[in-house]
Structure formats: C-alpha cells, structure tokens
C-alpha cells in the first residue's frame, strides 16, 4: 500500500517537474547540424533541449531553428558557429539575461521577453562587436 502511494507520488512529481535546465528546444534542422556540449557532439534533432553554454554548429548545407523559453526565436544559417554563452530566465518575473556569441556564419533573431526585461539584458557578440538588443528582429552575419 505504502509502495503504491510512493509510486503514485513519484508519477505526480514526474508530471509536474519541469525539464532540467532547459532553455530552448530545437524546432527544425536540415543538413549537417549539431550541438556541441562540452566534449560531446549531439545531432540537432527537433525536440532536443538546449542548456546554457551549448554551441550550435552547421556545415555548408546545414540549418537549425530553435525557440527559447522566453519566446526568443533563432534561425541559424549554413557554415555557422553560434554559442549561447549565458542564459538566465526567471519565468515568474519574466526577467533574465542572455548572451549569444556568433563566431561565424549567420543568425536571424526575433527577441523575446528577456530583451524586454531590461536595457541590454540581451546581448550578441561578434568577433569585432558587442550588441545590445532592444526588442526587435535582426540578422547578424559574420563572414569567415
């Protein structure tokens, strides 16, 4: 009886516990497209959850699209290397900070709630520039 209660409680916990450290999900990918997480390299399959620090990498025929938990949306073009260096979001207060690094390639961004939550709460770094995003849609291109 007790065991059954524990099993039910565990199930209930599973049902309500949010995914661990999830910050974004891959929505689509084509061609050579992967995620670098530390030493691991994962294929960028739809539904894959991103963690802070992950790097999105595409080859010459590769593309990745993803949505973040603050409603920010990314589209990564071919021959790209884009890292989510920092991502913190308080879902209740709808505030956070977000730093993306574009080492090469192209990235389209529609900013979300983090960019709205404070001046330059969302930043994008390229090899020669640091940008502060103030609520908009834009494309950053970094040729090799």
């Amino acid at each position: 009886m007790l065991r059954k209660t524990i099993a039910v409680a565990a199930l209930a916990f599973l049902a309500v516990s949010p995914a661990h450290a999830e910050i974004a999900r891959i929505k689509s990918s084509v061609g050579a497209a992967g995620i670098e997480r530390g030493a691991a390299r994962l294929p960028a399959k739809p539904g894959l959850q991103l963690n802070p620090g992950d790097t999105l990498v595409t080859g010459k025929d590769g593309r990745i699209s993803l949505s973040f938990i603050d409603n920010t949306r990314f589209s990564v073009g071919p021959n790209s290397r884009v890292s989510v260096s920092e991502f913190q979001y308080d879902r209740t207060r709808q505030k956070g900070s977000f730093v993306t690094q574009v080492d090469r390639g192209s990235l389209a961004v529609v900013s979300g709630k983090i960019a709205k939550s404070g001046r330059d709460a969302m930043k994008v770094r390229t090899p020669n520039t640091l940008l502060g995003v103030r609520g908009t849609k834009f494309i950053v291109e970094v040729p090799e």
């Binding site: 999900r25 689509s28 593309r63 699209s65 520039t129 040729p143």
Partner: protein, 195 residues
C-alpha cells in the same frame, strides 16, 4: 602597403566583408533598435535604429544604409523563412473550486491539441491560476491541480510528458485585480503557451 594588397585579396575572394547587421521591424510592425556597446574591443555607445537597414559592424559609430530596392539577399530571406513560428497562448476557464475546464473551454482544448500537433519539436507550458476565494495555500494547490488536469488531458491525447510542464501560481497573478474572497470567472484560468 598592406592595406591595398589586403583589399585586392578581398576582391579576389569575393568579399572579406566585416560582420554586418540587418535590422528589421518585428512581426507586429514595431521597430526596435540594436545598440553597439563595444566595437573593435573599445566601448561604444551608438544605436542602430533605422528599420530595413544594413550596417557594417566594427566601427564605434557605424552608419546604416537602407536595404533599398534590392532588399534582402537570398540567404537572408532564407534565414527569416526558417524562423520557428511565434509562441501561441490559450486560455481555459473553470467554475468555482473545480479542476475541469468549463463547457465553453472544451473547444479551446481541441484547438490546443491541433496547435501542438502542427508543430515540430513542440514545447508546452501550462500555468494554473485561481480567484481570491479561499486561502492562499488552498489556492496554490487548486491552481496546480488545474494545470495538471490540462497537462494530463494532453498526455491522454498522446503528447509525450517530456514536452510539457505544469505550475500553479495560486492567486498571485490575477487577470482581474480584486479584493480577497471575490469570485471571478476571469481569474479562474489556465494559460497554455505552445512554442
């Protein structure tokens, strides 16, 4: 001497362009801006605010050019086409003290199911709320139960639980501000965000 030779190399390679930014209005037509906080390793304080413009990055005070009649390059248009669809929000309502959506909200459940099924790599965020009738602890519990009820219904429709999360916010986020112990149909709700 290095300058001209470098420029020639760039011409031969068909580019060597520095980083660039294309600034566009958002989907609602609102024009935001992008600030240049650092350029070439030095602090800067320029703001790029001209919509539908292209700006070369690297200069502390960059100048923007309109996209003009040529508009976006093909690869830029392809990037925009590949953006995921925006998040969509659904609201379900509840009778006093209950955890089953009202009859009028049953159609919203069907629309919700269709929306999730239509998305690639969907993520579903369910947040339950109550009105101010009853104690705070009871309302935290009730709002959580409302959210879980919706999540369980979706799981019963075949959606994997790993796509979904449910939280209860009790009476902390009233849609219709009210005194304590006021019954409000607008506040007894579950919001579902589909990404």
């Amino acid at each position: 001497m290095r300058g001209p030779r470098f420029a020639v190399a760039c011409l031969l390679l068909g580019g060597c362009a520095t980083s660039s930014l294309v600034l566009l209005p958002d989907d609602e037509g609102h024009q935001g801006s992008v600030a240049v906080l650092e350029a070439g390793g030095k602090p800067a304080e320029a703001v790029i605010a001209q919509g539908n413009s292209r700006t070369k990055l690297g200069d502390p005070s960059p100048s923007s050019r309109p996209l003009g009649t040529n508009g976006l390059k093909a690869q830029e248009a392809a990037l925009l086409t590949n953006l995921p669809p925006p998040a969509k929000s659904f609201l379900l309502y509840f009778d006093l003290g209950t955890v089953t959506p009202t009859a009028a909200s049953q159609g919203v459940l069907a629309a919700l199911r269709t929306e999730i099924a239509s998305r690639s790599g969907p993520q579903v965020e369910v947040t339950g709320h109550t009105d101010t009738v009853g104690g705070e602890a009871d309302n935290d519990r009730l709002s959580q139960q409302r959210a879980e009820e919706v999540l369980n219904w979706l799981a019963g429709q075949g959606f994997d639980r790993s796509l979904m999360s449910a939280v209860g916010r009790g009476e902390r986020e009233l849609k219709q501000p009210s005194m304590d112990n006021v019954s409000s149909a607008a506040n007894r709700r579950v919001e579902v965000i589909v990404r």
